[in-house]
Symmetry: C2
Subunit: 150 residues, 2 copies
């Protein structure tokens, strides 16, 4: 036992892959009685510089966020491919995709996790920060997302 390897133990986000974000966002809002969120699209490839399995990808996604206490529920509708989002939609349909941590030191955290059998699967930039999905399927049972804001 050591200190938290990611520098945090606080989950800040749960991601759900959906095929139809308009319908799912409306259902979350109406069934659970939550404010209907704006649906936003991820940045274009020149800003996002997305990489999937080490290769540049033009894939994007539509996103909608519900604020549920400490945790945001993030609905994700894949646009184009390849991406971890599209991969999961094809393999499992609408389904929970990841849990996210807010971290600092993206490069060292990703390298550490890779050394422990949790490899990088997708990364990209967004205005004000960057993200990385690491595939914890074999070790942890799910995908983790690391988020680093500047």
């Amino acid at each position: 036992m050591s200190k938290p390897a990611l520098g945090t133990t606080t989950i800040t986000q749960v991601g759900i892959i959906v095929g139809d974000i308009e319908a799912k966002a409306r259902a979350w809002s109406q069934i659970l009685g939550l404010p209907m969120p704006e649906i936003v699209i991820t940045d274009t490839v020149d800003i996002a510089q997305s990489e999937y399995q080490g290769q540049r990808s033009t894939a994007r996604a539509n996103l909608a966020f519900f604020h549920m206490g400490q945790v945001d529920v993030e609905l994700i509708e894949p646009i184009g491919e390849p991406s971890t989002w599209k991969d999961q939609l094809d393999r499992h349909g609408d389904s929970l995709h990841h849990i996210a941590f807010q971290i600092q030191g993206m490069q060292e955290k990703v390298a550490y996790l890779d050394s422990r059998g949790v490899p990088l699967v997708q990364r990209g930039e967004y205005t004000g920060g960057r993200y990385a999905y690491v595939d914890g399927g074999a070790q942890l049972g799910c995908i983790l997302e690391l988020l680093e804001n500047d």
Copy 2:
């Protein structure tokens, strides 16, 4: 838009189905630097009174909890069948299974969700409370768990 239909918008738990809870709990502990949790087994059927799809089930599960801020990560290894846990393991392998809310008024919340196309899939008792899984797959993109403590 109305008030939160479940009486809360706070997610308290994320569940992950795993085929080998010893290995996965050790990996969560060692890779993420978290205390190794005790692995506990759900109550026997006479206490749990588990029902899956409206029929009594003798299925149980091994559980391990990691405290991650407001949210617990719950590892779940199915024992026997039928259960939503075993169903997911068979269909999707190790994977995220549900997000949970702490609620009051189980019967009325379950009836409300059923009326909105989110049907009960499994329910049971535990010492000090009860749980229900509702299948939000079609409407919300994932299973929800309702937890009610006395």
